[in-house]
């Protein structure tokens, strides 16, 4: 499991990176995910202004 980036929607603002406590996300013009470290917390999903991020299993989305 890990977060997925929809590259058609991502505008590369990097706000998801700012809130990732695990160092899972990086910026290469758009958000890039390092699968192995993702803990599915959903913090990045809640932060994205263009709804470009999603967890593979939406039931795991824990952000409030």
């Amino acid at each position: 499991m890990s977060v997925r980036v929809n590259n058609d929607l991502c505008v590369g603002c990097g706000c998801c990176i700012d809130v990732c406590s695990q160092g899972v996300l990086e910026l290469d013009n758009k958000a890039v995910v390092n699968d192995e470290y993702c803990i599915d917390c959903g913090d990045c999903v809640g932060m994205c202004p263009v709804l470009a991020l999603s967890l593979q299993d939406p039931a795991l989305f824990q952000s409030t």
């Binding site: 603002c13 809130v19 160092g23 990086e26 290469d28 202004p49 709804l51």
Partner: protein, 422 residues
């Protein structure tokens, strides 16, 4: 190697801090998540604010320099500029509150942030800063002698040691969060913003800034139409709502709201967006070996000129700390004096004076109509603008009380909103 100071974040605050620190002879590493420093991925308005006294400064642009006349330093800037002369707040029915300087001088100047950052980056290089780009600093640990900062770059992990840390990683600061420094701040909201550039917009007015308020334009906050670099292009800023599809907001503004006719022949050129975590400011922006500067410690933002000042003072503070002085405490004194959001009065203005959605469209039209014939002093300041506007409106408070008692009651209630400190 253990650096004297690590700087996280290559915005105006971080780059300025790194450059100044290196020029003082300190060993400096700067970590930045972007690969290309000059590529601005979060559109913001990027204005130099010319108000005398704004952030206790009065900046001047002269001979390729931004001169900080009170703080006593300057920063090179050779990029393009665009002057702003008129600002309007516009009600649903089209009543306007107009801000402009009586002598016709500009009150702010749009600048090219990419050029500014590129220049600072090159100055850092020249000064001997170890520049680490396309790298994310995601965590930090502290011990008695200093810090270890944890990095990831292209999936590879590493760490870096430093005696002091300057966290300049912006409004959504990861370092501040990792250090637990946000616990004492009041959190308000996470506000998404969407920015679109259009060609062929029907109401292009160069040199003019227009903020549209009310549900007639959008149910999601305000719409701002501001001049872009070329006369025939406008930048349109649309307030968003968490977890709301930007396409819905876009449609509301461009096809359904009152501005729709202006978008009839408009062509979308570019879109960007970002989200801002809104906290009260860090009134004491340091702990042990760490100093938090710029937007990372602010209520929303310090603006680019404020960030440059933070960087300038942060480098001095770190140098002093490393030689046994109280640099961070001195920085804090300057920080509290210089930035309006460190006072309760500011938060009262920011919180209690908000127009939309507090007032209905009809109420906004009434309030705006009271001051329509007057021109208020030109300012870009997000503090002074609403203050001047409300001062002008409240000159008619007897009339409001008589004509529209329900609006008067609402105003009184909002003015009494006192800010709760934890």
């Amino acid at each position: 190697m253990i650096y004297d100071v690590a700087v996280v974040g290559g915005g105006p605050a971080g780059l300025m801090a790194a450059k100044q620190a290196a020029e003082k002879g300190l060993t400096v590493a700067l970590i930045e998540k972007r690969g290309d420093i000059s590529r601005i991925t979060r559109q913001c308005t990027m204005q130099f604010i010319l108000d005398d006294g704004y952030e206790n400064e009065h900046i001047q642009l002269q001979g390729g320099k931004i001169i900080f006349t009170h703080n006593g330093f300057s920063v090179d800037y050779n990029g393009r500029t665009l002057e702003l002369f008129d600002k309007y707040y516009i009600s649903p029915g089209g009543s306007k509150i107009h801000f402009a300087n009586p002598d016709g001088s500009p009150f702010s100047i749009k600048f090219d942030k990419g050029v500014l950052l590129q220049g600072l980056w090159e100055s850092c290089e020249k000064a001997g800063v170890t520049l680490i780009s396309r790298t994310v600093a995601y965590d930090v640990s502290e011990n008695q002698s200093g810090l270890e900062i944890f990095l990831t770059s292209k999936g590879k992990r590493s760490s870096l040691k430093a005696r002091k840390l300057i966290a300049a990683d912006g409004v959504n600061s990861r370092m501040t969060d990792a250090l637990g420094l946000n616990h004492d701040r009041q959190y308000f909201t996470t506000a998404p913003n969407l920015t679109y550039s259009f060609e062929g917009y029907g109401d292009v007015a160069p040199g003019t800034w227009k903020t549209y308020m009310g549900r007639a334009y959008t149910p999601y906050g305000v719409v701002i139409v501001a001049p872009a670099w070329e006369d025939h292009i406008v930048d349109v800023y649309m307030g968003g709502k968490p977890q709301t599809d930007p396409a819905v907001i876009y449609r509301e503004v461009t096809a359904q709201g009152k501005l729709a006719p202006f978008f009839k022949d408009a062509r979308l050129i570019e879109k960007t967006g970002y989200a801002v975590k809104v906290y009260t400011s860090l009134r004491k922006p340091y702990r042990d070996h760490v100093l938090i500067i710029g937007d990372a410690a602010a209520y929303v933002e310090v603006e680019v000129q404020g960030a440059l000042m933070c960087g300038y003072h942060a480098a001095r503070a770190v140098q002093k700390e490393l030689s046994g002085g109280n640099g961070f405490a001195e920085y804090t004194h300057w920080w509290q004096e210089s930035f309006e959001f460190n006072s309760d009065e500011y938060l009262r203005v920011a919180q209690g004076y908000a127009l939309s959605p507090t007032y209905s469209d009809d109420e906004l039209d009434y309030l705006f109509s009271l001051t329509e014939d007057k021109v208020l002093k030109g300012t870009y300041s997000q503090y002074l603008s609403p203050k001047l506007m409300w001062d002008a409106i409240l000159r008619h408070q007897d009339r409001i009380q008589k004509e529209r008692p329900e609006i008067y009651a609402k105003i009184q209630k909002n003015r009494e909103l006192s800010f709760k400190r934890e």
